[in-house]
């Protein structure tokens, strides 16, 4: 059996619903329709009453989930697009994120954010919000880059007693396929060496992983072995694995798809500089999308986000140092 990144997310939700009667799904058009991306296809038939269509009320959807979690339920909220979670922002960062710390009562909710850019989607159907949510204490931010992680991390997210922002990348939904799902997986908070190398370390996550690997492959002919680290979750952030890699390569490039000011890439560099200063042979660099909203026209969109080409350029500059 072969399945896509999107199917893995659907399978994980199926499995979560099967395992625990306290799990339920809530989101717009996720019932009979199966969701805007079909991530909940047929689940309503297999688990009647536990897959609920929500009104267009992101704030109340999240508040509803927090209340349900207080009572021992484990809701999975689907935002139709990550971009619309801004309308539930207050409940996410002030209600859900603070709940356990304030009350000692856990808030095990999962908020699925169909994230990231695809050609022609424009400024409001393309955003990557992991850097925003990771800033807030109390939220776990998962950013799976593979079919395997999409499946296992989502299951892990549901089991976790803390609120999880699950950033699933729309660009990977259909293209990315796996032949099977391993039963084993890395623990939460552990990064993965996606590609071993010696000359430089590229730290990335989500869809950018694949751009980075492509860039690394292109550099092989130039005689460079680039190590690529897949963060898997950006909070918690696995500084250990990053530092170990930098210890091997002495060079660091961080690549992310979100906006360039602050965020994941800056956080990674700040940590490596604080704790791995002596390991670095060159100034650590980062590459993000440009500092404008995400353009609708593919010509502009392709230039706005990092690509194998622009990552390659950055790497060559880093290697030349």
């Amino acid at each position: 059996m072969s399945l896509t990144y999107l199917e893995a997310i659907r399978e994980a939700q199926y499995e979560a619903l099967r395992r625990d009667p306290n799990v339920f799904l809530y989101g717009q058009d996720i019932g009979k329709f199966g969701g805007a991306f079909k991530a909940t296809k047929n689940l309503i038939n297999e688990f009647p009453g536990r897959v609920i269509d929500a009104p267009i009320s992101e704030d109340a959807m999240v508040g509803m989930a927090v209340g349900a979690a207080i009572e021992g339920a484990r809701p999975i909220i689907e935002m139709q697009f990550a971009d619309f979670s801004t309308c539930g922002f207050n409940q996410i960062v002030n209600q859900a994120a603070t709940h356990y710390w304030r009350t000692n009562v856990p808030c095990p909710i999962v908020i699925r954010l169909p994230s990231g850019g695809t050609a022609g989607s424009g400024p409001f159907h393309s955003q990557s919000m992991e850097s925003i949510y990771a800033h807030y204490p109390g939220l776990v931010i998962m950013t799976p880059a593979t079919v395997e992680d999409a499946y296992h991390m989502l299951l892990h997210a549901v089991e976790l007693d803390d609120p999880v922002i699950f950033c699933e990348h729309k660009f990977l939904y259909y293209h990315l396929k796996a032949d099977s799902l391993p039963d084993e997986t890395l623990p939460l908070g552990k990064a993965r060496i996606a590609r071993p190398g010696v000359h430089a370390t590229v730290v990335t996550y989500s869809a950018m992983l694949h751009e980075c690997i492509r860039a690394a492959e292109e550099l092989v002919v130039e005689g460079y072995q680039i190590e690529v680290v897949d963060l898997r979750s950006v909070k918690p952030l696995d500084a250990e694995t990053i530092l170990a890699s930098v210890a091997r390569t002495g060079r660091l490039l961080c690549v992310g798809e979100s906006f360039p000011w602050g965020g994941v890439t800056a956080e990674v560099i700040a940590r490596v500089c604080a704790d791995g200063w002596h390991l670095l042979d060159a100034p650590p660099q980062r590459l993000n999308s440009k500092d404008t909203p995400i353009p609708y026209h593919p010509n502009l969109w392709r230039a706005h986000r990092p690509t194998a080409a622009s990552i390659g350029t950055e790497l060559r500059r880093l290697l030349r140092f």
């Binding site: 058009d29 269509d53 022609g120």
Partner: protein, 368 residues
């Protein structure tokens, strides 16, 4: 009463002032006379309805053919009468018009050139959004047409702000602002805050709610629990109206009342149009979730077919005149598409990669 029947003569109006407001209510109750006065208005409105329909049919065809269209295609099929009836009463340069995703026809009635549509959908760099944002998001704020963002409900307060500013600047005059939203959009906090705020400020705002029975795939029963969305008007302290959104005559009459009252300073007006989305949510969607039976209800009537029946029945245009009109419009559409076809796409190397109006603020993040 089945669709396509003419038992509903023009002005045999489903519409009704929600509050017992004597004068205008009675106006509305005089069909024939009203209809005569409305002849010219009907014909102009019908033209925009048809133009919107034909233009959107072309967009849909291009989308299905693949390759040409940039981004998604969301059409207003079935909502043309309701969309045009409001927009045609507004005056560009004086009024504000904030269209939403199903208002191609309304946009045309407000004076949007076909080129704005073709350029955005085909991704021409010369379009109003210059390739930065797309299709239904297009707008020309300085011409009174704010450019909607995707987040439903958020346009209401923006249109209100445009009116508030004019009042503060002493140039509101008798201008009004009109905007549209769907049944699903009424569930957003932004809708509520915007409606309430407009009412508190007693702004000349007209809000048209197109209840097309679905929000994407979600039926209204999963969206709200009141019998009719118009019941919210009173809670905001607004005057409210319901209307058969498939009946151009009725829509024109209701919006004439609402727009006039807004101009007269009676504060925000809320109109709920009952109709059915005659296509998918977008062209990617086959809308198989819409029960066939529903298509046979009054809401499912095609407002354009019905308008044509009315126009013929009243002898305003005959078969050949109707056919001619259609040809004219198709010709204009062809012209716009072929002109657009030869226009340049946006060039990332020429693009100014700064979000700021103040040039010095560009931090120039090097990316190549």
């Amino acid at each position: 009463m089945g669709k396509n029947s003419l038992s509903k003569a023009p002005g045999g109006v489903q519409s009704s002032a929600y509050f017992a407001v004597s004068a205008p209510a009675s106006t509305i109750k005089q069909p024939a006379s009203a209809a005569d006065q409305l002849r010219d208005l009907h014909l102009r409105a019908y033209r925009h309805m048809l133009a919107g329909r034909l233009l959107e049919e072309r967009l849909g065809a291009l989308y299905r053919a693949g390759g040409k269209i940039v981004g998604g295609v969301y059409l207003g099929k079935g909502q043309e009468a309701f969309s045009v009836a409001m927009a045609i009463l507004l005056k560009k340069g004086r009024d504000v018009y904030g269209p939403l995703i199903r208002d191609q026809s309304g946009r045309m009635a407000f004076g949007e050139p076909i080129l704005d549509t073709t350029r955005t959908y085909l991704g021409s760099a010369l379009g109003p959004m210059r390739g930065r944002d797309g299709n239904i998001h297009r707008g020309r704020p300085k011409e009174g047409v704010p450019a909607m963002i995707s987040h439903l409900g958020s346009l209401i307060s923006v249109v209100s702000g445009m009116l508030l500013a004019r009042r503060l600047q002493g140039r509101l005059g008798d201008s009004v602002g009109a905007t549209c939203i769907g049944d699903g959009g009424t569930s957003t906090g932004a809708f509520h805050e915007g409606m309430n705020m407009a009412a508190v400020e007693k702004l000349p705002l007209i809000v048209a709610i197109a209840n097309n029975q679905f929000a994407y795939s979600t039926p209204t029963k999963s969206q709200f629990a009141c019998d009719n969305l118009i019941e919210r008007a009173k809670g905001y302290g607004m005057e409210g109206y319901t209307v058969d959104g498939t009946d151009l005559t009725a829509c024109l009459e209701v919006f004439q009342t609402a727009v006039r009252r807004a101009r007269e300073g009676r504060g925000p007006q809320m109109i709920v149009g009952n109709l059915l989305r005659l296509g998918g949510h977008g062209e990617h969607d086959d809308a198989s979730y819409i029960p066939p039976a529903m298509r046979k209800t009054d809401a499912g009537r095609d407002c354009i077919t019905y308008a044509e029946q009315v126009i013929s029945a009243y002898g305003w245009l005959n078969e050949s005149e109707l056919a001619l009109l259609r040809t004219e419009i198709l010709h204009e559409i062809d012209k716009a598409f072929s002109q657009t076809a030869h226009e340049p796409a946006p060039d990332p190397y020429k693009e100014v990669w700064s979000p700021f109006a103040t040039p010095e603020l560009a931090e120039g993040w090097q990316v190549w």
